[in-house]
Amino acid sequence: MTSILMRATNLTAVYAADSGQDVPAVDNVTLEVPEGQIVGLAGESGCGKTTMGNALAMIANPPLYVVAGTMEIDDEVIDLSTLARGSNEAHRPYRGATVSLLPQGAMNAVSPTLKVKNLVIDVMRAHKRDTTVAEAMDRATDRLKMLEMPTRVLDSYAHQLSGGMKQRMVTVVSTLLNPKLLIADEPTSALDVSSQKALIEMLLAMVEKKIMRGVIFITHDLPVLSMVTDRLAIMYAGKIVENGPTEELVNNARHPYTSALLSSVLDPTEETRTKHVLGIPGSPPNLANPPSGCRFHPRCQFAMDVCKTQEPKFLNEHNHEVACWWANDHAYETVPMEVYKA
């Protein structure tokens, strides 16, 4: 049984909407990242995965507030809540060094008037005041060489780099301090296919070289997920509905939503011609007023009476968790998705 690198417990994060109401975007979520593994976090747009990434990376900014949650990482317990006045300063030493965020859209991640090498120096000095320029440059050039990237990147401004190069450069900067956990938020979304491949290979190489000890890979791009991740957590309406080894989820989905989501990606095989893809009827709920009981029940074809009234508890089946009443009744069964034969 692999050890756990990071365990986030009871994470709740809310958005202060213009109407004055607080909308829970992440509702009492618990997530683990085993040592040396890449955990994917997937779901439709607006399910709360980016918010969760921000909360875990401790960079939540008003109007986003982390109301509750703790992170246990390497025997250290960190309070993720951002309500207290000093929380920003308290979280600062962890940012970039313990947990680091690889942002969505690296296009504007670097200030247009800042050379990359100066950013590198600033990042290192933020955590160790007396870092010399030479030390910072050494670390940067070593890392670039290790990942087979040109070192002239350091002397450039952001606008001088192409999109793919920028993304990889940002990845290097985000991992410069060897953070224990890297949270990659849709890193491949804005890239063309060849750049995607290069980035993914770089991430895998970095995990292998133990630059990071764990990655949370957030994306809605399902084919990428199945290529990259060891485990997969599926989010719906601010809650995690299923969590387990990627292969099992792909072939042996236990939650109706997971099954519908994963089967919405077509494999270009002969069989596909005979299959009828079932979309998921309806649309994601308004988080300000989520459905009672199981949040997925209005759109679920297996919904039972209990689903409308009670929220399902997590069922743990040998390292594979699922929160679903139907799954409770059908232990270890894959969700049967109907396929029409032509």
């Binding site: 990376a57 960079i59 900014n61 600062r92 030493p93 962890y94 940012r95 970039g96 060094a97 680091s100 965020l101 942002p103 859209g105 296009m107 504007n108 991640a109 670097v110 200030s111 247009p112 008037t113 800042l114 050379k115 950013l119 600033d122 990042v123 933020a126 955590h127 040109p150 450039s156 401004y157 606008h159 001088q160 780099l161 192409s162 793919g164 190069m165 940002v170 900067v173 985000s174």
Partner: protein, 335 residues
């Protein structure tokens, strides 16, 4: 676009603007149907000249000012004159050459405007930056005050300052550039006297400039606070102080462009300030010339103002090209 191309681009069209300005400067006053010399001579006639003498004077003036020649020749004369710094003779102060009138008034205008623009820009931007960074009630009060100053026309503030501090409180002299009896010279005594006359007009300019820059800088800085790079630097654990450094470096750029754009308006309003204080700079000279239809002076002053503003704009734009890395270090486009 590369630096060289940027510089060339800017040089070319500032030269173009200059040409247009010179032409306009010549053409616009001449849209009047009628002859300025008529006005002049009739004024003299009120002083009792015989009509014969008036006729002779009229012809002499026409020759003198080249008004008896066709318009194209007048234009050529004008251009060559300008290049030699010869603007002809003033109508009202005949035969004093216009250039000496200007030479007397330029130092006073420069003494007011130059420090007002530079200091106003520096202090204003600092103030706006701090307000944006601190937020809260400090921000609110700085913003409202700055906006109040910024929206007050120069001459309105001048009048208020003059009345309150000059007339009512009597702390400052009420008009002019130096005490009666003293004459301009490069002596300490003269400077220490003249500076008391300088404070109020300078204050009315610089306070408004500070207000304007503060308002602009604050908006730019607040806008930048929401940028991606701020969020990213924060996620790397970079502290607030460093981040504000990034923000200001970026917010500064449009402020420099803004300075170029506003020099034109600043100069205009500041000239009127001179009127309020009877300060003998170009504004007062222009005012006097307008009232007495002294066309050579009007034309010369407007031309100089235009050229000065264009030159100032040009220098600021060139400076910007060297400061903004997006222009200085252009795209090399590697994959």
């Amino acid at each position: 676009m590369g630096l060289r191309r940027y510089l060339a681009n800017k040089t070319v069209w500032y030269l173009g603007a200059l040409v247009v300005a010179v032409v306009l400067n010549f053409v616009l006053p001449r849209l009047i149907p009628g002859n300025p010399v008529d006005v002049l001579v009739s004024k003299m006639g009120q002083g009792g000249l015989s009509s014969e003498a008036q006729q002779r004077t009229y012809e002499a003036f026409m020759r003198e000012f080249g008004l008896d020649k066709p318009i194209w020749d007048q234009f050529v004369l004008y251009i060559t004159g300008v290049f030699h710094g010869n603007f002809g003779a003033s109508f009202s102060f005949y035969p004093t050459p216009v250039s000496s009138l200007i030479a007397q008034s330029v130092p006073y205008t420069l003494a007011l405007q130059l420090p007002a623009i530079v200091l106003g820009w520096i202090i204003g931007n600092l103030l706006g930056a701090i307000a944006a960074y601190k937020g809260g009630s400090w921000d609110k009060s700085v913003f409202t005050t700055a906006l109040l100053f910024n929206s007050t026309p120069y001459y309105c503030l001048s009048i208020i300052l003059l009345y309150v501090f000059g007339v009512v409180l009597g702390w400052f002299p009420v008009g002019g550039a130096y005490s009666l009896g003293s004459s301009p010279e490069w002596s300490w005594a003269f400077f220490s006297d003249a500076i008391t006359y300088w404070y109020l007009p300078f204050a009315s300019l610089v306070l408004i400039n500070i207000g304007g820059q503060a308002v602009g800088m604050r908006s730019m800085a607040i806008y930048e606070l929401g940028s991606d790079y701020v969020n990213y630097s924060r996620s790397l654990g970079i502290g607030d102080r460093k981040m504000t450094g990034y923000i200001f470096r970026n917010a500064m750029l449009p402020q420099i462009t803004g300075l170029a754009l506003s020099i034109g308006t600043m100069v205009g309003g500041a000239l009127i300030t001179e009127l309020v204080f009877s300060y003998p700079g170009m504004g007062s000279l222009l005012f006097g010339a307008i009232s007495s239809n002294d066309y050579p002076v009007i034309q010369a002053v407007t031309l100089i103002i235009t050229v000065a503003v264009l030159v100032a704009n040009y220098m600021v734009e060139i400076l910007y090209g060297f400061i903004d890395p997006r222009i200085r270090a252009s795209k090399s486009g590697e994959k």
